[in-house]
Symmetry: C2
Subunit: 320 residues, 2 copies
């Protein structure tokens, strides 16, 4: 195996010129006779010559030719099918792409479980999704970082007004006359707890306390939790779900126990994803695309005002 890829020297030799001339001819620089240029190019094409990007980079000092910057989207989620099942991630990617706009920056998606080993080739910046405290801080130490949802203290983040959203959902249920309210909350993450706090605040000191169960944002757990809730409190006339996927589980539990959605039991979700629209589910809409776009924007231009809380809005549909 001696036939390596041809080098500039090969081309120059075959064309009967110096390497310098060959280089100029190929790069279309000034000061090359038409004749030489043509000959060199013809030879190069024939030999299948491709400039060696690494060598070019070294010689010019320019960042490795063609090497594109990249932004990493890091997703922490135990479910390998997370991107299939949770519209949230697709929405975040949409927002990230929007922020990237026309810039020639690659968007890399990574689902991670543990903190990856030190990266030899760190990205321009990272968008952290569901990356909890310790890991978030570790990434921040390694480079530019913005989180979607609160991460470690000191790590810039953008998040929906979860507390406000929870509040909106509760107010809606109260206003529409629901009396016996249940809830399937989320896991012990900041975002889920904020929703819970906002929701429960409305019922503080109410005659009927909220019947609550803990979910983990998955369909399966939500279904089980809802069944449990209904067994514990059969007279429930409303259920708040910590996210839309959770709400799907609740809807199934309702269907299976012969309850009519809305008529018997109102359901309110959280996310405002396409899922909510498909299921005709009342849901607290959070602008995930905008959040992600703002986050990536901040990555690209840290001088911009630090990201913040984005307001949620309640979208009332047939389920309440």
């Amino acid at each position: 195996m001696t036939d390596q890829r041809p080098t500039l020297a090969d081309v120059a030799r075959a064309a009967g010129v110096s390497r310098a001339a060959a280089s100029r001819a190929i790069n279309g620089a000034y000061g090359t006779s038409e004749a030489v240029r043509q000959r060199v190019r013809a030879v190069a094409a024939e030999l299948g010559y491709e400039p060696h990007a690494v060598a070019q980079a070294l010689a010019t000092g320019r960042p490795s030719a063609g090497r594109r910057e990249r932004v990493e989207v890091l997703i922490v989620d135990p479910d390998p099918a997370a991107l299939s099942v949770k519209p949230f991630y697709g929405r975040a990617l949409t927002g990230a792409m929007r922020a990237l706009g026309d810039r020639d920056i690659a968007l890399e998606v990574r689902r991670v479980s543990t903190l990856p080993a030190q990266d030899d080739d760190p990205p321009y910046g990272r968008l952290l999704i569901n990356v909890a405290g310790a890991a978030g801080a570790a990434y921040a130490r390694r480079g530019r970082v913005v989180a979607l949802g609160r991460s470690a203290p000191g790590v810039a983040f953008v998040a929906p007004d979860n507390d406000g959203g929870g509040h909106q959902a509760a107010v809606h249920l109260v206003k529409t006359g629901r009396k016996r309210v249940g809830a399937v909350f989320g896991p012990p993450t900041p975002c889920a707890q904020e929703r819970r706090d906002g929701f429960l605040r409305v019922f503080a000191g109410a005659a009927q306390p909220v019947t609550a169960a803990d979910g983990d944002f998955t369909y399966a757990r939500a279904y089980a939790a809802a069944r449990e809730l209904l067994a514990r409190e059969p007279g429930l006339d409303a259920v708040f779900a910590a996210c839309d996927v959770t709400a799907m589980g609740v809807l199934r539990a309702l269907r299976e126990t012969g309850r009519r959605v809305a008529d018997d039991v109102a359901v309110v979700g959280f996310d405002g994803s396409t899922l909510a629209e498909a299921a005709d589910l009342t849901s607290v809409y959070m602008p995930v695309e905008d959040e992600a776009a703002a986050a990536v924007q901040h990555l690209l231009d840290p001088a911009l005002p630090a990201p913040a809380r984005l307001p949620t809005t309640l979208t009332v549909r047939g389920s309440s």
Copy 2:
């Protein structure tokens, strides 16, 4: 600004050794006295020396240090929010990630409209989604490529058995006694046409021909098409939708015209996405994750049997 990043030569000079010795000391190669190694390393640390990856790559001939391979997922879709709205893409990403497994290969997502300019830094391979003939062939010329759904002739692809799926949907409607069948088909893409052909074959020569309208896989167009269909043929008792998003539009048209889903009009979608589950929609399930995984698998190991058609299965839910 003369203080560039320090080079190996700087380190060597400061440590009072040759560059060769410095190199060995830093790379932990054999044949370096403990004393020298320690001194060099100390100096390197102090100077903040970082080896120049490009130079290393050139010198060793090894692929640029730390440079990770990458697979590009190229999505052609006019909608900037495509990843938000269509679960298909998230599912494809899930499958692609699954195929990548533990390998240290980056997954890059790109939504493109036109054929990007020649890439200086081509990826290991590309997964083409919705990339039509000409562009597909162009990418194939540039490097390793597999398409999700048929692209240009000669371009390897993996796709669901669309024809068979259309057939399954039609048979289901006939078997459940639907007589006046409508359909909102897709755009003039191979995949949409295969679904249509498979569906229509069942009704060839039927007493009541299928009342059809053309959609484009979007919610808005599907809604409009369904309204038109219902105006043209008010007695419709079933509608086949070319994809789940299309079905969502149909469902809305049904709701708005006061028709009950299933009781008055059966609806069958195509995709089997989370949307179908959320909307309690009967749908032809296609294993997008498996398709994408098979495609990326083939990218990684072209020796594997060429990808093929994957079977679809009908999931009956409340809408039919």
